[in-house]
Symmetry: C2
Subunit: 511 residues, 2 copies
């Protein structure tokens, strides 16, 4: 798979911390790096100095200034922040060359990736199942056994269970033992056969030991504690994928859960999100997902495992487009290179179509903020309005999500994630037509009670995620005095407070 040959993209540049050198960030859906060039490079003159061009050529790059760029030029983004543009074209394949690909498939690496799923609820067990199907199929890349950390508890099998054992009777048994014996998570994913290579493990530290790929899949309130427990017990070169949708919003900041995990553990962590529902995937009903994984430069095959930047940084950018405070340890060369290709092979199933992107911001924001829109859709539908009105709310909601991304992540956002990906419009549609936040906010309006009341009577006190997201986001926007730019988000907050009426929603959108 040659990903980048001949493609071009826009790279902002700025003075680096090293005298005499300019720093150029290269960002591309399947490629990211930091390179340095002499500051006396005469931009934006018609051509680069010979020495710079030569240096670039040896790095597999061609540089153009804006008036000499090639016709088939593709932008990676149209807004370039505070820097003047430099156009960079990759003249050599930079991601997986044919030879690198062959190397993976021919199994010439001496190490295989060990995979651990952290979490074993409905969604965690589902992901463990599909991942284990893939580690078995791709034995040249992955160790076959997939560890699944299970918060140990005791279960009792009833007589009508196919796993009922007379010799045990109704004595409590450990959940991990039951999973490993019967290959079924009888408590959280009953009636779904798990591959025998899913290994339930009650010890968190033992489950993550030597694992180069960690998949996080547990309620987000447990993340902080789990990270504390495994820190120092994972390989320094481990990489993560967060299946926990969303962002953490306080009055002062919006942060991505995947980035929180990465920073807490000193690793890089991507995010999985999309228009999919755990129970359906478990039943192998076809659906899609998006995985955002912005392969760190140190993990590119071309980097030979060395840290990339001339200033000693590894050039890994955070969600704001700044050099990350987390210093990454490269994945050793003994392993198959850990990028989009390997992640795709780990998650893609015939019933689970995966699209790989690099935009962790778009995938994370889409996964979180769409819940506010789902609440709004529930209100509108509960009020008796039809699909056309609900669709109008979805469309406006998507526009506010994108406005939010543009305002608070201006240097990194890729709008096309929202428009094109399953984690964008796809997830929006499913969330506003078949998921929890929509269902229970609709029920509240239909019954003429508050959503809080529904949480008590229907959800056993469990909280709807969309409600807390709405509260946090509204408070964050108010703290910045920009709430007038987000009329739908604020209306949902106002409706929750009883200060705004559902029937006022159309007024928000009149000129």
């Amino acid at each position: 798979m040659v990903v980048c040959t001949g493609q071009s993209f826009l790279a902002p540049y700025k003075s680096s911390s090293i005298p005499g050198l300019r720093q150029i960030f290269l960002r591309h859906p399947s490629f990211q790096a930091t390179r340095f060039f002499p500051s006396n490079c005469p931009l934006p003159q018609p051509s680069f100095s010979q020495s710079v061009s030569k240096q670039a050529a040896s790095a597999g790059l061609r540089l153009f200034n804006s008036s000499h760029r090639p016709r088939n030029f593709h932008f990676s983004k149209t807004s370039i922040g505070p820097f003047a543009p430099v156009y960079v074209q990759l003249s050599k394949p930079r991601y997986f060359s044919q030879s690198a690909k062959m190397a993976i498939t021919s199994g010439s690496y001496t190490q295989k990736h060990k995979v651990t799923v952290i979490g074993s609820g409905n969604w965690g067990t589902t992901v463990a199942k599909l991942v284990a199907e893939n580690t078995r199929e791709h034995g040249d890349i992955f160790e076959e056994d997939v560890q699944m950390w299970v918060y140990e508890e005791e279960v009792t099998l009833s007589k009508d269970s196919p796993h009922y054992d007379e010799s045990v009777g109704d004595k409590p048994q450990k959940l991990t033992s039951v999973i490993n014996k019967y290959h079924e998570n009888v408590k959280y994913l009953p009636k779904i056969a798990l591959p025998t290579n899913v290994v339930a493990n009650p010890s968190l530290q033992d489950a993550v030991k030597d694992s180069s790929i960690l998949i996080f899949n547990l309620p987000h309130e447990f993340i902080g504690n789990v990270c504390k427990q495994i820190k120092g017990h994972i390989p320094p070169y481990a990489r993560g994928i967060s299946c926990i949708k969303g962002v953490t919003v306080t009055d002062s900041d919006v942060s991505l859960i995947c980035e929180y995990i990465g920073d807490a553990l000193g690793i890089y962590c991507g995010a999985l999100s999309g228009a999919n529902i755990a129970s359906e995937i478990a039943n192998e009903e076809w659906c899609e997902t998006t995985i955002a994984y912005n392969t760190p430069p140190v993990d590119e095959p071309g980097s030979n495992g060395s840290a990339g930047g001339a200033d000693g940084t590894n050039g890994h950018l955070d969600a704001r487009g700044q050099i990350s405070k987390t210093q990454l340890t490269p994945v050793p060369q003994e392993y198959p290179p850990l990028g989009h290709d390997v992640m795709y092979k780990l998650f893609s199933r015939p019933y689970f179509t995966v699209s790989m992107v690099s935009d962790v911001v778009g995938v994370s924001l889409g996964g979180a903020l769409k819940n506010i829109v789902a609440i709004a859709c529930g209100f509108v539908e509960g009020h008796g309005w039809n699909m056309t009105a609900k669709t109008a709310v979805m469309r406006r909601g998507m526009q506010e999500i994108i406005a939010f991304a543009r305002e608070f992540f201006p240097d990194t956002i890729e709008e096309k994630t929202f428009w094109e990906e399953s984690a964008g419009w796809g997830d929006m549609i499913v969330s506003c037509t078949s998921a929890r936040n929509w269902r229970y906010s609709k029920m509240a309006v239909e019954r003429g009670v508050t959503v809080q009341e529904i949480e008590k009577t229907e959800l056993n006190g469990q909280k709807l995620q969309g409600i807390s997201t709405t509260r946090e986001v509204a408070s964050f926007l108010r703290a910045r005095g920009v709430e007038q730019k987000y009329p739908l988000f604020m209306a949902v907050d106002g409706i929750l407070d009883g200060k705004v009426k559902v029937e006022d929603i159309p007024k928000l959108f009149r000129k």
Copy 2:
């Protein structure tokens, strides 16, 4: 409403037919024009010659070449076709200046726009209703009475009708008389009160007489004949809006219905489309729409009603981005300028939110091709798959619609119409969850019969529009040998033929 001040956009240029002059097309969501500059303008050198800059400044434009463009630069499109780019910034308001706006609202024009709705079915009568509500509200711009052409027929009112008249009994009455007497279209939009200023008229030629705004709203098979009948009977400066969704596809061409109307009548015609259903709008249930109206340069207030081009053309571009073969007569200066502002006032209601764009191609293609996707969604859902699978099909369908637009309308397509507008994703969602094509293709799979069978048994032989669109588009793609780029469109065609199975759909999307 100052629309364009300070905004910038990209304009391709090429040699004009006039020696010594370069022709520059300016395109912008609310502005379009052709301007000419001396060929010796030293593009792409750092600055324009003084004479060109001066000429541009006097026209209210600032020109930049690519390396000197301002930071807040916005592209109108990223693909620029075969021409090198020129960057143009409007330094004066070009659309409605404050004074022009005041002129409209203060009613200083001696003529008002007369509006005729051609067609009086369910959808036509609904549009006549909302338009008549607006002509009454904006008496400074429009004549109050709205003509509605009705294909005359006889109706009989039953005894339980509120309009039953004992003196008439069950004698047949003319539909136009009933509408004008009781202000209700008892046959096609029963139980909806029409404003008294909707005037039903059985004479097509009399209905369109002196009308400067024609709204086309009838089954598309009647368009050709209607255009023949009214040609020569409308003012040469009339303008149109087509509420007939779609395109006409033959093996050799794709043409827009609105453009067909414009060319047939020698006028300009825009298009209305969106996530809306006639009966809901008639009941004043809130929904949205998109109106695509690419205001002809001759109608801009700044053009003073004169034809704009130095070569005598009026610079009006067709759907392919070429100079249109239709020579327009400017709307006389006695009328309020006919652009987005007036069209918005004509259609926008508290229950009907209007978004104005210039992209007639996107609005027309979206309205037509989404029906193929709706058929696919019906198949998938009828097969028992869930919302996540259906959403995946919608997402892939949208990608194929955009690929189609890019391939066959490369110079004019604005992708954001599909992503952002009600005529794009909005219409897609409604069509795939609540409209005819989806409903009956779902029913066919559920019953294990062909869609053709359903047309016979459930639709009284009436044809589903999505079926003929699928057939025409598939044939068009095959004639070009590009069918492999459109796997979903072709799969729907194959399923209709019994050659492809619904359960094969996920395979289309695996890498």
